[in-house]
Symmetry: C3
Subunit: 290 residues, 3 copies
C-alpha cells in the first residue's frame, strides 16, 4: 500500500469521525460546562447552542464540580481572572483529574500576569484533555511546563517561521504527548488557531485552511471555538473533537463573510452558519496531513 | 351568571391589566435593577430597554441597596455565583423586605451546588414578590422551602406528568401562596416557563401557549424574561407583570422565528420584536384559565 | 484676522487631527486595555475592534499592570463593582500615574454607593487623561473632587439649564483643567454625552450634534464610546481622541438608525457602521466651538 493511499485512507477515517461527532451533538444535545472569561461568555454559550449542544457556566468550585457530574466535558478559559480563581481553578482541575472528567483548556494570554502563570503552572499536575490557543499561547504553555525550551527549538536559530502557527508545531506535538500520557483514556489533542489552523494528537499533524479574516474582528471567535470543542469532546475522542470544531468554524466563517457587511452582521451570520452548516459540509473540509 | 361568562369576564379584566402594564412601561420608562449572571446580563438589560424600561446592574450590597431606592422593582438571578454572594444576596433580600421593595427571583439551577442551596434557603425568610423559573427549578425551590414534599405530590405516584410544566402546578401554587402571605401588598405570582407557560397567583392558574422553539437555542431567553417581568412589576401587580412579560415573550418569539434563519438572526429579530409588538397584540394573547 | 476665520482655521486643524486619528487606528490596530463592567464588556471590545483597534480586558492588578505595558491606553469603567475593586482600582490608577500611562475614566453612576464614591475619590490623587460621562456623572465627579460646588454654580440659582449637557459646561471645563495639570503630557479632555455632545480640553468647548435616539435603547453605547476613546487615545492627544470617538459614534448611530427596525438590528448595524464609516466622513462632522 502506497503512502499516498494510506494517507487517503487515514483522511477518510478522520472525515467519518468528524461527521459522526457533528451529527451526534445535534442528535443528543450534550451539555458542556464552561468556566470562562466575562468578555465572551455569552458568545461561548450561544456558539455551543448553535452547534447543537447545551451550555452551563459556573465559577464556584462546588457549583462547577456538581455540574461537571452532569456535563460531558468542560471548557476552562483563563481570561479576566478574579482573585479567588488562584485557588478555585487548581482545585477544579484536581477534581476533574480525580473523576477522569474530560476538559478543554484555553490558555488565553499565557505568560502575562503572575496569577495567570501560577494557575497555568498548577494545571501541569492535573492537565486537560485538549488545549486550544494561538501559537504564542501554545509555545508559552509548553515552555511553562518544561516540555520545550525556546533555546532548544527544532528549527535552526535565526530561521524565521513561515507563520506563527508553523513556529508552534514542535511545542504543540510535545504538549499533546504530555497530555495524552496523563489522560485517563490515553488520548489528547492540541489545536492551534491561525491563518491555517493546526491540530495534533502528538503524532499526526493536521492542517485546516480556510475561515475568514473577519473572525479576528469580533471578540470571542477563539474562546467560542474552545467552547464548541468541549461540546464535541462530550461525544467524541479529543482529536476528532478538535478537528470537527475547527472545521465547523472555518466553514461557518466563510459562510458568514459571504453575507455580511461588517463585524456586527458577521457575528449574527456566523451563529446562523454554526446552526445551518451540515455535517457533510464540515466533514468535506480540506484537511492536510504533514 | 354562568361559569363560562364569569371566566370570560375574568379574562377580559386580565387583558385590560396586561395592556395597561405594557403601555405604562413604554410611557414611563421605569427602572428595574438586576443582580444577575454574567452569561446573559447584556441580554437582560437590552430586553428591558426593548420592552420600554431602563436597566441598572449591580452586585455590591451598598450599590444594590442605594440603586433599589430609585428602581421600581429588582431582578435577582442566582446563576454564575461568586464567593461573596453567599453573604451579599441574603443581606440584599433582607433590605428589600425591610423597605417593602418588590423583586423577581430566578432560581437558576436550584438544587445544584451547596452555595446556591444556602442562598436560596436564606431567601425563605425574606422572599421575593415573583418567582420565575422552569418546572424543575420551581419544584426544587418549593421543596427546599418545605412547602411541598415530592413524596406527597397531588398526582398519584407512578403517573408521568403530561409535561414538565404540568408537574409543577401544585408546587407553583403553594409557592405563590407562601410569597403572597409574606408580601407587603399581599400579592405574589409564580411563572413557570415551558412549551405552554404557566402563571399563578396561588389561586387561579393561567396557561399561555405559543412562543418559539428557537428561544431555547439562544442563551438568556429565560433570564431576560425574568428581567422584563421586573420591568412590568415596577408598574403593575405581580400577576399582571408575570402575565404581560410571558405574553410579550411568546408574541416576540413567534415574530422573530418568522423572519430569522438561525439563532444569530433570531436573537436580533427577537429584540426588535420586543420593541415593535403592540400592547394590543400582547393583550390579545391566548390565555387559558384552569 | 477676524474671529470667524480664526475659528474656521481652528476647526480645520481639528478636522485634520480627527482624520489622522481615525486612519492611524485603522493602519496600526493599537491595543487598548479595559477594566469595565460586566453588562457591556462584550460591546466595548467589539466596538474597539470595529473601530480598527484591538482589545484586552483584565481585572487583577498584576494582570492589568502587565498588560498596560503593551497597550497604548486604558479604559476604566466603575459599573458593576466587586469587593476587591476598592483596593485594586486605586492601585491600578497609581501604577498608571507612575508610568505616565494614558487612560480614560467612565464614572458610571457617580454618586451612587459608598464603595463607588470611595474609589472615585481615590482617583483624584492619580487622575485619568480623559473623563467621559453624562452630565450628572461629570458634575458629581467634579463636585466629589472639590473642583466645583453645586451652590456656587456659574449659572444663577433657579435658572433651569436648557439641557443636561449645558448644565455641565462649567464643571467639565474645571475637571479638564484639573486633569491637564496632573497629566504627564499636560493635556487632558472631558467628554459629556447627551443630545448634543460636548468635548472640552478645559479651554475651548466643542459641541457635536447628531447621533440617534436609538443609542439610548441599547445598553453600552456610552461605555463602548469610552472604550473607543481609549483606542484613539493610544494614537492621538486627549482632545482629538475624545472628538474623533464622539464624531464616529454620531455618524455610525445615524447610519445604523437608517437601516434598522428596532434595538436588535440597530446594534448590529451600529457595529457595521463603526467599521464602514470613513475617516473623511468622521472628520467632516459638524463641530461648533463656543
Amino acid at each position: 500500500m502506497s503512502d499516498v493511499s494510506r494517507t487517503a485512507d487515514a483522511i477518510d477515517d478522520v472525515r467519518g469521525r468528524i461527521r459522526r461527532a457533528v451529527e451526534t451533538v445535534r442528535d443528543t444535545t450534550p451539555m458542556a460546562q464552561s468556566f470562562t472569561n466575562f468578555v465572551t461568555i455569552n458568545l461561548v454559550a450561544n456558539a455551543q447552542l448553535a452547534a447543537g449542544g447545551t451550555a452551563a457556566m459556573s465559577f464556584l468550585p462546588d457549583d462547577v464540580i456538581d455540574t461537571a457530574a452532569m456535563s460531558g466535558a468542560d471548557y476552562v478559559n483563563v481570561g479576566t481572572l478574579l482573585p479567588f480563581y488562584k485557588d478555585a481553578l487548581p482545585k477544579i482541575a484536581r477534581a476533574f483529574r480525580k473523576s477522569g472528567h474530560k476538559w478543554v483548556l484555553d490558555p488565553v494570554a499565557a505568560g502575562i500576569g503572575a496569577t495567570r502563570t501560577e494557575i497555568l503552572r498548577a494545571f501541569r499536575a492535573a492537565p486537560p484533555t485538549v488545549v486550544r490557543g494561538n501559537a504564542s499561547e501554545i509555545i508559552a504553555l509548553a515552555s511553562m511546563w518544561g516540555l520545550f525550551s525556546p533555546d532548544a527549538a527544532t528549527r535552526p536559530a535565526g530561521v524565521e517561521s513561515v507563520d506563527e502557527v508553523d513556529s508552534s508545531v514542535g511545542p504543540a506535538k510535545l504538549l499533546a504527548r504530555f497530555l495524552a500520557a496523563s489522560a485517563p483514556q490515553g488520548e489528547a489533542a492540541v489545536a492551534v488557531s491561525g491563518a491555517v489552523d493546526l491540530v495534533t494528537d502528538g503524532h499526526a499533524v493536521y492542517r485546516l485552511p480556510g475561515g475568514s479574516a473577519m473572525m479576528s474582528k469580533i471578540t470571542g471567535a477563539g474562546c467560542s471555538l474552545g467552547g464548541v470543542t468541549a461540546t464535541y469532546l462530550a461525544v467524541a475522542d479529543p482529536l476528532t473533537a478538535a478537528l470537527a470544531a475547527t472545521a465547523l468554524y472555518n466553514r461557518a466563517g466563510e459562510a458568514a463573510e459571504a453575507v455580511s457587511h461588517g463585524p456586527g452582521s458577521f457575528q449574527v451570520a456566523f451563529l446562523d452558519a454554526l446552526w445551518n452548516t451540515t455535517a457533510d459540509e464540515v466533514a468535506a473540509s480540506e484537511i492536510l496531513i504533514d
